[in-house]
Structures are given as structure tokens and as C-alpha cells.
């Protein structure tokens, strides 16, 4: 990149180096394109690697470990005096982040992707002006891929102050465990980090405006999860609207309950996780006429093309499921389409996971979605209470539910709650992509003893021939 007023050309410019952007850049380079990857920095990897998926999972694992050793008396394990050195835990987490983001740097340089740290803005539909530390530059391109992602939304009465009212990013790097943590929003981020701090010793209250946690979640799963949150001591205030934060001697989150009365939630720290908004502003999209929806998400077709020829968009900024693995797939589609290959985003299922305790995961249609789509639905469930493996893990909470079309017996979706069910979603999604029928999974040998056996058992239950539970 030549800075100053000198412009620089490339075949494809990718804006944003999160899971969408860096994958698009790498795949484009593999396909022989001359690629510039522009990112705000300071490190590549976007939200996912720096302040999202990866760091949160590091904390979740540490919290789980600490919780488990303190709750293993039934197994004859008594551990006294577990202490948590939060700065050290955060440093360990930061080390992981550094290794991963450094890995992207390495891959970019090995694949010949030129990385430019700066803020990009479309000057025209074939050029980008980039402000870097050293000044202003211009990048001319033939195609551009917008992969700028999303950011945390703020409520009108509550703004992030970086101290008492923070977002999930800050909560991943605290110096000490807050005594009382109030979480606004019972979505997956709020529940995951709420669980972490509950396990690390905080008194956690989750405030949710809607009458249910994680809108759209299977109701049986939501029930199981709510039960477990209660066991962890997490207080759930549904139908409460967060209004403001009062600092001082009695710091508290002020909310309005369903009856209109004010409810104060004493809190030393408030984490606001009420949804995410696309980073589509300040990109100069209006100057080149890229269409967005009313929420600012960029509209794309199944080839990731926007309405402007040569301009593509992928990942969170295009809406839908705001998930890294969706961005990965879209990135590959965009790169291949740009290279003239007949790629398209036509995935049957996008799996999703909530790393609570127990984990919640689903892929394909939920029971409700299948019914709404007009299927005669047949389900089968298997409770981990009857799983030998779950008992040995002391993790018998939860179940797997499979959703199938009653007539054709084609598998339509899988929903699960339980220890480590995130790892079962790869198999379940493969089954969906391959168009598996119930019998296909039922006749597949699953290793014993594992949690994955429960998938086979749930399928057999749907076929009315479960072995390890009574058929209904």
C-alpha cells in the first residue's frame, strides 16, 4: 500500500478481516487473485477471534473447570480453596487470541494477501479511500467484498461508559470478578457470559424484555436451560425493561417490570448484550448505491452479490444468522463467484450453539419451524438421564430431539441441550446436508459410550423403536 495521495490497484479488495473477510481473502488468493485485505486493526480476526467466540470460550472452559472441581463431592473429590486469579486467566485467554490472530497474519503473508490497517470508505464503485496511521490512500479494485461485521447495540437510556456499563468485549477482560453482575438481554451472549461469572462467584441477574429467553429457541430446551440457570444461582427477570443505571453508593440497574413497577437490580457491573447491528454505516455505501434493509444489513443474493455489480458482501453485515461459520461459507462462495466458479450459498442448515451449562445447540429446522413449513412433523427425543456416558460425566441434564417429516421420514432438524452437544452438530448438519432419512442415522453405528449415541437413540425413538428407553 502506498500512502499519501498515490493510489494502488488490485483485483479484489476485502474490507474487514473477521472470519468472513480473512477467509474470503485467503480463498481469493488461492484462486489466483491479487488481494488487498483492509482492516481497522489492531489485530486481524475480527470480533470472533478478538472479543467474541474464542475468548469467551476460553473463559467458559476455565469457569466450568473451577465449578466442576468444586461440585464433585459425590464422586469423592473434594477440593478446598479454589481461587481464581482473573488477570492470569485473562492473560491466558489473550495468549490464545494472539496465537490465532498471528496465525491469520501468517496465512495472509504465505498466500500473498496484502494487509492494510486502516478505515475504508468507498470513493466510487471501483475505488476505496483508506485512512491509515500514515495518511490517506486509495485502493482501486475490480471487485470488493464487504465483510465489516456487526457491533453491539445500545439501548436508548443506557450507553456504554466503559466502566460500569459495558459490552461483552470488556467483560472478557475484567481485572476482578464483580460481586453483582447485571446482564441486559437473555440472548446467547448474555446467557454465556452470565453463566461464566455465576460460576466464578458473581451474583448474576439477567434482565430480559421479552417473556422468553433466546427468542425462537425450542420451548423444551428453554425450559431445561432455565432450570439449570436457576441451579447456578442466576436470577432471571423476564418481561423487565432495562431503563437506566444509577451509580453511587447503591449502584443498580433500574428496570420496569411487567406490571409497570420499577425494579432495581443492585449491580456493580452492567453488561449490555441486547443484540447486534451491522457495521454498514460510514462505508460510503450510499455513494455507490449499495442497497441495505431497514436495519442497515446489506442485501445480497445467493452468490453474495449486492445490487451493485462487482460489490459483494458476506457475514454479519448481510444479516441472517450472525455466526462465524455462516461467514466462512459466504466468504468461500463470494471468492469463488468472483473467480468465475459456479458457487452459491445453498446450505440446508446453519448450526448454532449457545455455550451455556448445559450447552444448547440446534441445526436445521426447529419443531415449530417444521410445522410452520407445512410438514407433518414426527419427533423423537432421548434424555441424557438414560445415557451411560452422561452419567459418568455427571451431566445427565438435557436431551436430544430430532425433527423429521412424518411421511417421508426425512430428517429436518436436530435440537439438543446437554454437556458437549455442540460437538454433535457437525454430524447432525452433515445428515441434513446429505438429505438423510431417519433410517440412515438409525442404522449408523455410533461409538459407545459417547454422548453421540443419544442422537441415534433419539432417531430410533422417532422410528418407534428406541432400545434404551420406553417407546411412547
Amino acid at each position: 500500500m502506498v500512502v499519501g495521495s498515490v493510489s494502488r490497484g488490485c483485483q479484489v479488495v476485502v474490507i474487514g478481516a473477521g472470519p468472513g473477510g480473512y477467509v474470503a481473502a485467503l480463498r481469493l488468493a488461492q484462486l489466483g487473485k491479487d488481494v488487498i485485505l483492509v482492516d481497522k486493526g489492531p489485530r486481524l480476526g475480527g470480533v470472533c477471534l478478538n472479543v467474541g467466540c474464542i475468548p469467551s470460550k476460553a473463559l467458559i472452559h476455565a469457569a466450568d473447570l473451577s465449578w466442576e472441581v468444586q461440585h464433585a463431592a459425590a464422586m469423592g473429590l473434594s477440593v478446598e480453596g479454589v481461587s481464581i486469579d482473573l488477570p492470569k486467566l485473562v492473560a491466558w485467554k489473550d495468549g490464545i487470541v494472539e496465537r490465532l490472530t498471528g496465525g491469520i497474519d501468517f496465512l495472509c503473508s504465505k498466500n500473498g494477501v496484502e494487509v492494510v490497517y486502516g478505515t475504508a470508505r468507498f470513493a466510487s464503485d471501483r475505488s476505496l479511500s483508506v485512512s491509515t496511521e500514515d495518511g490517506q490512500g486509495e485502493v482501486e479494485f475490480q471487485q470488493a467484498v464487504i465483510a465489516t461485521g456487526s457491533e453491539a447495540m445500545q439501548l436508548p437510556g443506557l450507553r456504554f461508559d466503559g466502566r460500569r456499563v459495558v459490552g461483552s468485549s470488556e467483560v472478557l477482560s475484567l481485572n476482578e470478578v464483580p460481586d453483582r453482575l447485571a446482564v441486559i438481554g437473555a440472548g446467547y451472549i448474555g446467557l454465556e457470559l452470565g453463566t461464566v461469572y455465576a460460576k466464578l462467584g458473581s451474583k448474576v441477574t439477567v434482565v430480559e424484555f421479552l417473556p422468553e429467553i433466546v427468542p425462537g429457541l425450542d420451548r423444551d430446551v428453554a425450559k431445561a436451560l432455565q432450570r439449570q440457570l436457576k441451579k447456578l444461582g442466576v436470577k432471571l427477570l423476564l418481561e423487565h425493561r432495562a431503563e437506566s443505571f444509577v451509580d453511587g453508593d447503591e449502584p443498580a440497574l433500574v428496570t420496569t417490570g411487567p406490571d409497570g413497577a420499577e425494579v432495581r437490580v443492585p449491580a456493580d457491573l452492567v453488561m449490555m448484550s441486547v443484540g447486534r447491528v451491522p457495521r454498514s454505516r460510514d462505508l460510503g455505501l450510499e455513494t455507490i448505491g449499495v442497497a441495505t434493509d431497514d436495519k442497515g444489513f446489506i442485501t445480497v443474493d445467493d452468490r453474495q452479490r449486492t445490487n451493485v455489480p462487482g460489490i459483494y458482501a458476506i457475514g454479519d453485515v448481510t444479516g441472517g444468522a450472525l455466526l462465524a461459520h455462516k461467514a466462512y461459507q459466504e466468504a468461500k462462495v463470494a471468492a469463488e463467484v468472483i473467480a468465475g466458479e459456479p458457487a452459491a450459498f445453498d446450505s440446508v442448515a446453519i448450526p448454532a450453539v449457545i455455550y451455556t451449562d448445559p450447552e444448547v445447540a440446534w441445526t436445521g429446522m426447529t419443531e415449530r419451524e417444521a410445522q410452520d413449513a407445512g410438514h407433518a412433523v414426527r419427533t423423537g427425543t432421548f434424555s441424557f438421564k438414560a445415557s451411560g456416558r452422561a452419567m459418568t460425566l455427571d451431566a445427565t441434564d438435557g436431551f436430544i430431539k430430532v425433527i423429521a417429516d412424518a411421511e417421508s421420514r426425512q430428517l429436518l432438524g436436530v435440537t439438543a441441550v446437554g454437556r458437549g452437544v455442540s460437538e454433535l452438530m457437525g454430524e447432525a448438519t452433515l445428515a441434513l446436508e446429505m438429505g438423510a432419512f431417519l433410517e440412515d442415522v438409525g442404522l449408523t453405528i455410533h461409538p459407545h459410550p459417547t454422548m453421540s449415541e443419544a442422537f441415534q437413540e433419539a432417531i430410533e425413538a422417532a422410528l418407534g423403536k428406541a432400545v434404551h428407553q420406553v417407546n411412547t
Binding site: 459456479p342 445453498d346 413449513a373 446436508e433
Partner: protein, 414 residues
């Protein structure tokens, strides 16, 4: 429960058809798979079998009505049941009438369009070959679309999907004036004629037609043919001269692949086809029909003669299946028997060339300074000058002429 049978998608690119004849009437009981009616679509007349057993409660279209894919055709139910939603019997339907609104059988809630059942690899293959999976019927378990299904669909969908063009309601002034002058018989335009008209207009608008003509001395070829014909017929076979031309054409196509190709203009790619499916233009009482001989390179001449004979017979009887009319890669039109010196055939889209065979006639020819009487014929090739240069057209034709003039050479190349 009464069931309404809608006009199904009988093949790619078919949007509408015409009811030729009902084979059942209201009150008849029908068994599953029993033919219900004949429908003229594109270039074939097909019989539609009943998907269910039961009693015919109501016919929703009269003979000669134009129907679109999805239009209700017939309601089948049990004795004593009445047709849901509509009352009364068959409505009188002039041929231009849009048919009754769709009748959904009660109880069968419409299911949102399901995704075609295919694995990610098969879906990728379909994109690669430009096949619309929603139009493919899967042959695998539970209707799963296999790689082979996709491949088959891609080879049968090369023919242009002829968009039915709605006739303008108002007549051009010039036409109206002509009509006002003297007695005129009004004859409805047949469905086949509409299809031909569209195909011809589309072709002329699409390709830059140029025709190259040469002549071949086929004296030796005809002699050879007579010997072979006698031998084949002695064995009870059927033989004609046409297979020699098919073989000669295939041989030359292999040498000049651009004549056995199509062009994907959207992606700016030339599709050189490795299969040799030769269309044979057949003159039928209803109009021009072009059945296709698949894999002509892999069949011997006796087989070709039999297949051409069979296809031509069935074309005249309008009994060809849709797949026998699709997927051609190059076409032959044999105008010779009907007279003329030569003609300039129109390319059968999306192909790039068509070869015209003209009359074989004894003519005086100068050979080595002497006049001899030889069996001569003109051959023409119309090709798309956008993609094929005139010089290549001349080379292509010279090779074809050489093979036909020296049957020994043709035999050597088989």
C-alpha cells in the same frame, strides 16, 4: 377425499400445452396410471396418466383449451363426492379462455416449496452444469437427485426453452387491410406451428447466419450404398443413404468441434460438446419436427438407419417422447428428395450449425479433361458467423465433401 390433478411439469421448459383429447369423462371410474387425456406440448403429444384411482368428478379444461403448468385438469374422488369449491359441470371454454382458478383439494395443505433432495456435491454439480434442481426428478431413494440425474438433465436441457410468446390482441394494420379485401378463411394457428414460428424467429434474431455451399460427387457413395442396402435388406434390415451422411458429419464434427458446440453468452464461454447427438429434421403433416439421434458416433450405420426410420415414423404420428426431441448438438436437414438446387437452412438453437442435404442428380462433370456423367449433389452448411469464421466453414465443408466423394476414406475414418 377429492383430489385435483393439476397440469404437471412434464419436461423442462414446457410452460403450456393444449388439450388434444379427453380419454375419460365425468362419472367414469379410473384406475391409477390410466391415461386421462392427451396434451400437445412443445413438439410432442403426451398422454397424462391418472395419479390416483377413483371417479372422475369434473374435467376442468375442454378439448382444445390452452393450459399452463399448474392449471387444474381434473378432479378425482369417490362416488357421491362433489367437487370442492366449484359447482356445475364442464364449463364451456373457448380456446383462449384462461382456465378456472386453481382448486386445492381440502385437507392437503399446500406445503411450502420443499428443497430438492440432493447432497451438497450434487447441488454443486448442478450449478456447474446449469441444471435447475427443482425441475429434476430424482431417481434415488426417496426421490433423491443423484449426480447421474443431474448429468442426464444437463444433456436433455440443451434445447432452447421456447418461451411462449403471447399473441398481441390487436392486429397490425397492414394485416387487417389485407383481410378486408376479399374472402379469407381463418385457420387457428396450431401449438406446434407457434413453437416452430418462435424457434425460427429466435434463431434468426440470435445467430449471424451465413450459408456455405459446395458440391460432392457421390457416384461411388451411391454405388457402395446400393451394394450394402441389398445385403442389409437380405437380412431383413432397413437401410437408407442417410446414415452415411450422419457418419460423415460426425467424423467432420470431431475435427471441427466448434460446429458441435453452443455458447454460454452470459459467461462468455464456448461449450464444446463431446457427445454427438444429431438432429434429423422431419417433415410431418403438422409441421417440422426434429428428433435427435443420441450418440450417433457410437452406432453403426445399420443401427442408425433403423433408428432414423423409427424416429421419423413416430414423429409423423406425433408419438415422440420429449426427450427424443431434445439435446441435439448439430442438425441435418434432408431437403433433397423434395427438389431444389440448394437452400439456406436456419440453425436449430442453441446449436451453431445445420447441414442441408440436397438433391442427388446426374450431371455432366469434367474429369481429367473429359466430360463424364456423375451423380452430383449440393451440400449446404448454415453456421453462426459470430462464433465460426467463414474460412472454417469452407474447411468444414471441404472435408465433408471429401468424405462423401470417397466412401473408402469415410470407412477408414469410422
Amino acid at each position: 377425499m377429492a383430489y385435483t390433478f393439476n397440469f404437471p411439469d412434464v419436461g423442462e421448459g414446457i410452460h403450456e400445452g393444449r388439450v388434444v383429447e379427453w380419454l375419460v369423462s365425468a362419472g367414469d371410474s379410473v384406475s391409477e396410471d390410466q391415461p386421462l387425456l392427451k396434451v400437445e406440448t412443445d413438439k410432442a403429444v403426451v398422454e397424462l396418466p391418472s395419479p390416483k384411482a377413483g371417479m372422475v368428478l369434473e374435467l376442468h379444461a375442454t378439448s382444445d383449451a390452452t393450459i399452463e403448468v399448474g392449471d387444474p385438469l381434473v378432479t378425482i374422488g369417490q362416488t357421491g363426492e362433489t367437487t370442492p369449491a366449484t359447482a356445475g359441470g364442464v364449463r364451456p371454454a373457448p380456446s383462449t379462455l384462461r382456465l378456472a382458478p386453481k382448486v386445492e383439494a381440502p385437507g392437503s395443505a399446500p406445503v411450502a416449496a420443499r428443497r430438492p433432495l440432493a447432497t451438497p456435491r450434487t447441488r454443486a454439480r448442478a450449478r456447474e452444469l446449469g441444471v435447475d434442481l427443482t425441475a429434476v426428478r430424482g431417481s434415488g431413494p426417496g426421490g433423491r437427485i443423484t449426480d447421474d440425474d443431474v448429468k442426464r438433465a444437463s444433456t436433455t436441457s440443451n434445447a432452447p426453452a421456447v418461451e411462449p410468446v403471447r399473441q398481441p390482441r390487436t392486429m397490425p394494420a397492414a394485416v387487417a387491410e389485407t383481410i378486408a379485401d376479399g374472402e379469407v378463411e381463418r385457420v387457428p394457428v396450431s401449438h406446434l406451428r407457434k413453437v416452430i414460428a418462435n424457434a425460427m424467429r429466435t434463431s434468426k434474431q440470435t445467430s449471424a447466419h451465413v450459408t456455405h455451399v459446395d458440391e460432392a460427387d457421390v457416384t461411388e457413395l451411391v454405388e457402395h450404398y446400393r451394394t450394402v442396402k441389398a445385403a442389409v435388406e437380405a437380412e431383413g434390415g432397413r437401410f437408407t443413404l442417410l446414415p452415411f451422411f450422419v457418419k460423415a458429419l460426425v467424423t467432420v464434427l470431431k475435427r471441427y468441434p466448434i460446429f458441435n458446440a453452443s455458447v454460454d453468452e452470459e459467461r462468455q464461454e464456448i461449450l464444446l460438446k463431446k457427445t454427438y447427438n444429431i438432429g434429423i429434421a422431419v417433415d410431418t403433416p403438422d409441421g417440422l419436427i426434429v428428433p435427435v439421434i443420441r450418440n450417433a458416433d457410437r452406432k453403426d450405420m445399420v443401427e442408425l438407419a433403423a433408428e432414423i426410420g423409427d424416429l421419423a415414423d413416430r414423429a409423423r404420428l406425433r408419438q415422440l417422447r420429449l426427450d427424443e426431441l431434445r439435446g441435439g448438438t448439430c442438425t441435418i436437414t434432408n431437403i433433397g428428395p423434395l427438389g431444389g438446387i440448394f437452400a439456406t437452412p436456419i440453425i436449430n438453437q442453441p446449436e451453431l450449425a445445420i447441414v442441408g442435404l440436397h438433391r442427388i442428380q446426374e450431371r455432366p462433370v469434367v474429369i481429367d479433361g473429359e466430360v463424364a456423367v456423375r451423380k452430383m449433389m449440393y451440400l449446404s452448411v448454415s453456421f453462426d458467423h459470430r462464433w465460426i469464421d467463414g474460412a472454417d466453414g469452407a474447411r468444414f465443408m471441404s472435408d465433408l465433401v471429401r468424405l462423401l466423394s470417397k466412401p473408402g476414406l469415410l470407412m477408414a475414418r469410422l
